[in-house]
Symmetry: C2
Amino acid sequence: MVTAVSSLALVGHKLSENELQQITELQLTATEDDHGGVIVEMNKPVEPEVFACTLRASISLWRKQGKRGVWIKIPIELVNLVEAAVKQGFWFHHAEPKYLMLAYWIPEGSHTLPANASHVVRVGAFVMNEKREVLVVKEKCGIFLRTGEWKLPTGTVEEGEDVCTAVVREVKEETAIDTEFLEVLAFGESHQSFFQKSELFFLCILRPVSFDIQEQESEILAAQWMPWEEYLAQPVVQESELLKLTADICLAKKDENYSGFSPFPTKLRFTDQKSHLYLNYQDLKRQ
Amino acid sequence: MVTAVSSLALVGHKLSENELQQITELQLTATEDDHGGVIVEMNKPVEPEVFACTLRASISLWRKQGKRGVWIKIPIELVNLVEAAVKQGFWFHHAEPKYLMLAYWIPEGSHTLPANASHVVRVGAFVMNEKREVLVVKEKCGIFLRTGEWKLPTGTVEEGEDVCTAVVREVKEETAIDTEFLEVLAFGESHQSFFQKSELFFLCILRPVSFDIQEQESEILAAQWMPWEEYLAQPVVQESELLKLTADICLAKKDENYSGFSPFPTKLRFTDQKSHLYLNYQDLKRQ
């Protein structure tokens, strides 16, 4: 904090009581991370000039302390501080609707900060009842409105959500059907699905435990239990290599001895967080 | 463009030749997307006031045209325009080191814009030679420097990169060993691995096709072919439920009939982009 004040004094800036107060508060929000760096979470308005000056002084201080990466999280309400950070050499690391994370690297050489998230993760649900009817939906918007096809329920895995939880949630949201997760049958990857980002898609099999459909109003035009042969006979399925292949896999699971990956409970290293490893349990237990 | 000019005139702003030119150029950069929205890529400096005014006028125009989502991509050099967009109601959608993407939703109700990327995707490589030695590395930084353990080579999948390409690249980069991708043996998920983001980790088996190790200087302290029993005997492996489980899977693949997912070539729908579906090929072909 002394450094920040000295730095302002050095550039001949007279400090008001208010500015001194602002500098003190800014310094207090810096916390250390686990990788020799610091994280500053901005949460109170501050004049951009004061912010710029304090930041410059803080970086000098952190450099002396041998710090490496510097993170600044700026909530959208304090967007007027972004320019000052960039002028100081910070770059955009990632952003969410309500904040922008900027990063800076103090040591010589290229940084070793973690990469931004690169993938959107999606799930699709194969849910068949005992009459060999498959749970399908028609979507209200996007590309599937144009094709008009009956398709397996799909959705996006949220941050912090497990694949096996996400797919059960999506089926419930879109159709009100309760299910139990069984296996990941296959997964695919595609690129440039939106801007530069990539996408992973997990095809999952779920066992239905309720059967009365109620469509989600906002996204779903219609949902039904459709005879499998009728689903397969749709021209869009017949014309798509990918849809035919996924249908083959679903049927191999249902009628043959196809083994996908099922979630096996385990603990992560370092954090002891509970997690799953998705693996071919059928083959592993055969040993 | 007329609308933008009128809007500036309405607020009693006298347009200079230069400002008129700037408005014309800004309008020209707006292109339509596939979902009834527009994308504006800022690429030339413009006064923030002119930008704000043009943006306001453009939104009126797009509203009349029935447009939905509006994207503005601001390169880091033009960071002085970010505040103006936020004041207009834009929010942060995502960011990369060199740009910030802002989004705005014109219709009533909640937006249906795609979510930001939520996951970092990582890969680990199980590479064993014919002497039952496994390819292991010691890392120079991060948490593994502290544990000092010999570990399987790992790395991050880049945007636009396939899992099966990424893991071969990482092994090559870290050890100079050439490999052929065989299968994904299992995958795990963890959360809050960095900020709010989640992580998917794919354990892969690769077949080595070259054997002379050369360590990557920047990240790797040492690399070697280590007898499998010696790898297993490390205390860190013995103490970790997760490492023991992954070792079991690797061995089940090597010595038993464990079947993972191998990449099967297919084509994506809608784009005809070539892709892979990772599936249990051994089980599928048994049919």
